[in-house]
Amino acid sequence: MIKVKNNSPATGDNIKIIDEIVRRHNIHRGAAIPILQEIQTTFGFVPPEAITRISDLTGIAESELYSIATFYAQFRLEPVGKNIICVCHGTACHLAGAEKVTEALQHATGARPGGTSPDGLFTLEKVACLGCCSLAPVMTVNGETVAKVTPEKARAVVKSLREAAQKNKTAKGGRP
């Protein structure tokens, strides 16, 4: 959480980036969603400071922006972990045991579905159908699809990501 404040986007250069995003989309009618989408792509989440800034620039009330950001599942109002794991909970994946995969990941990462692990390494999400039903169950790890996941395979993925993070840490001389 402390980290967030350091990256608070509403400072210096970041304000310029937000302004630029708004400027680019605001020529179209009904641009609130594309603006929020690009803010999220840029910062990884939609920070409250950005909402205030968008409201100032577009004249759309902050309350309305929040109402949009909380309605759509895509938007996150909190920062995410280093690794994002999304487990597909579509029908085919459900039948093939997605629940067990999520449970295994929950234990392995320490993150609850929809949340981030205390060490900030993992964000775990249950998502609607990813459309790879013939390869069920499916999850995406940092955007890459992993097919036919088993609880073991899921735990192995977490283990290797954890090791990679550890290595990174030591390489940087032990600084977090």
Binding site: A32, I68, Y72, F75, V127, C129, C132, C133
Partner: protein, 603 residues
């Protein structure tokens, strides 16, 4: 020599990539570069069950399709087939010389739309043009009046493929006749039904087909601007579509004075933000206007007052992809396929416990059994076929006994299911119908936008009752309560989401009441799925005491000395199944119902 004339295609739609197709492609590129062959990327051939797929086309034009090709197998194919001119028999899934066990999957289908998928390169307009692409635009815009185009669609009998089945020509006619200069066409690519991926595959693998359909539709209704509202969860579809739109513009199929006529048309992409209800047309429009995706009251229909208050026609991806086929081949030829009231073909996403799952296209009227057994090859687990679910969370479960039902709009409706957008989920004996119903309801409950009380609070109440039943606290009266509540939600909801949300529950109660009764009366889950009603038990005779389960258990519920049979403490166990998954001796089994001893006592 002659190796230079071989052509190699690799299927790289989402399924292919997920199965490791990118690595296969890179390997092939590396191996083939020395031979002067450049492997081509294509889309989804529809055989998702044996991705990654590689097609080798010989200098004589014969096509060999290889399945489940990893890097090692790619090497073998290059060495033996392309350099040695001998097909690698054991890896072939489709061969021009002989029947394979996979042949019926393709032969029983009728691939009109899917014919392009896996054949054309989705990233190249030239590839689409050489397959006859954009001829339909030239014909429609160059030689037909908008009214003639609409008449041709009427002859074809095309109905909306998004699920509701509204006649397409009527939608077009209403929008065309609505007063106003500015009209919009929206392609609904917000494919949200879990278990359905037809639209994704079409957009990824043949984006030009959809663009072409949109141009013709735009011409027919008199729109100058088209939008594609696509799920953000489909990044590859959006990427390929974006490229297709740019290429179509360069070639003069989009923009001003298309094909030398006075018709101007452009297409823009809007990405959805993850709300299932936005597949409903009025909610979709709200979302495009930058608001919360909450459905509006109809009338006025979008054809009169749609996007930003202007006449708007909203068609599904598959509907639009059908349009060029109809214009090229003529409406009559199209309507020769299918049944009396359901014309043409329909694409289904076959998934679940099926041997050959993937994208299949069948003429309307084919029976469920033909699809499951002849095309799909039957049940993957070797267990008994129990039911099929169509239409996702809006649809119904059809029991295996009704497998002779023809798949068309009216026949499916008659048995309480719907055609839906094309998800077809196959279930076997190991599927708990109460759990499936609960799964769909928890989905719709989550996705209800909250506008109508019955949908918002009613689905929640139904979910609570289903939770009660799956947790073994249910009573017999709960089943009737579910039916009553379900009927009221259907009657009291504004949009399709609420009107159809109870369907999975109502149809499973109708056809599988026994299973509900087993849960409430005997506290038993016959499929051994519902956690509260099952327990994992270690068989002392089979357990060798290796300790793997003890170490795997996340809650330390398993105890036992090395080389001695282990025991699971049922009080601590959370029924995650990790112990069973890791056991190499099949020593852990699942039991349901009251323990044998207790049952004896009761007797």
């Amino acid at each position: 020599m002659g190796t230079g004339q071989y052509k190699v295609k690799v299927g790289l739609a989402t399924c292919g990539v997920a199965a490791g197709g990118q690595k296969t492609y890179e390997k092939l590129r590396q191996l083939l570069s020395g031979l002067g062959i450049d492997p081509e990327k294509t889309g989804c051939m529809g055989m998702c069950y044996c991705e990654p797929l590689v097609e080798v086309i010989t200098p004589e034009g014969k096509s060999y399709v290889y399945g489940s090709v990893d890097e090692k197998e790619a090497e073998k194919i290059v060495r033996e087939h392309i350099q040695g001119h001998r097909p690698v028999k054991e890896l072939l899934v489709l061969s021009p010389e002989e029947e394979t066990e996979h042949s019926p999957y393709m032969e029983k289908q009728h691939r009109v739309l899917l014919g392009f998928l896996g054949k054309v390169n989705p990233e190249s307009i030239d590839s689409y043009l050489s397959a006859g692409g954009y001829e339909a635009v030239k014909k429609a815009v160059g030689t037909m009046t908008p009214e003639e185009v609409i008449a041709e669609i009427e002859i074809a009998g095309l109905r909306g493929r998004g699920g509701a089945g509204f006649p397409t020509h009527l939608k077009w006619k209403f929008t065309r006749e609505a007063p106003g200069e500015q009209k919009y066409l929206v392609c609904n690519a917000d494919e949200g039904d879990p278990g359905a991926f037809m639209d994704r595959s079409i957009l990824e693998s043949n984006p030009h087909g959809v663009v072409e359909g949109m141009i013709i539709a735009g011409y027919a209704i008199g729109a100058t601007q088209g939008y594609v509202y696509c799920r953000a969860e489909y990044p590859l579809a959006i990427k390929n579509l974006r490229k297709a739109i740019a290429e179509a513009r360069e070639h003069g199929y989009l923009g001003e004075k298309i094909c030398g006529s006075g018709f101007n048309f452009n297409i823009q992409i809007r990405e959805g933000a993850g709300a299932f209800v936005c597949g409903e047309e009025t909610a979709l429009l709200m979302s495009m206007e930058g608001k919360r995706g909450m459905p509006r009251f109809r009338p006025p229909y979008p054809a009169q007052k749609g996007l930003f208050g202007l006449p708007t026609c909203i068609n599904n991806v598959e509907t639009l992809a059908n349009v060029p086929c109809i214009i090229s081949r003529g409406g009559k030829s199209y309507s020769s396929l299918g049944t009396e009231n359901s014309k043409g073909t329909k694409v289904f996403a076959l998934a679940g416990k099926i041997k050959r799952g993937g994208l299949v296209e069948i003429p309307m009227g084919m029976t469920i059994n033909e699809i499951v057994f002849d095309i799909g090859g039957g049940i993957s687990t070797g267990k008994k076929f129990k039911a099929v679910q169509t239409g996702g969370p809006s649809g119904g479960c059809i029991p295996a006994e009704l497998g002779d039902t023809p798949v068309d709009y009216d026949s499916l409706q008659a048995i309480g299911a719907i055609m839906g957008s094309g998800g077809m989920l196959i279930m076997d004996e190991e599927t708990c119908m109460v759990d499936v119903a609960r799964f769909f309801l928890s989905f719709t409950c989550d996705e209800s936008c909250g506008k109508c009380t019955f949908c918002r609070a009613g689905t929640k109440k139904m979910l609570e009752i289903l939770d009660k039943i799956t947790e073994g606290r249910g009573e017999e009266s709960d089943i009737d309560l579910l039916v009553e509540l379900g009927e009221q939600i259907k009657a009291g909801s504004l949009c399709g989401l609420g009107q159809t949300a109870p369907n999975p529950v109502l149809t499973t109660i109708k056809y599988f009441r026994d299973e509900y009764l087993a849960h409430v009366r005997d506290k038993r889950c016959p499929a051994k799925i519902c956690k509260a009603l099952i327990r994992y038990v270690i068989l002392p005779d089979a357990c060798v005491g290796c300790g793997v389960c003890r170490r795997n258990c996340p809650v330390n519920a398993i105890s036992g000395a090395p080389k001695e049979p282990h025991v699971i403490d049922q009080e601590i166990c959370i029924r995650c199944g990790l112990c069973q998954a890791g056991c190499r001796f099949d020593a852990i089994v699942v039991e349901t119902g009251l323990p044998e001893a207790d049952t004896d006592k009761k007797r």
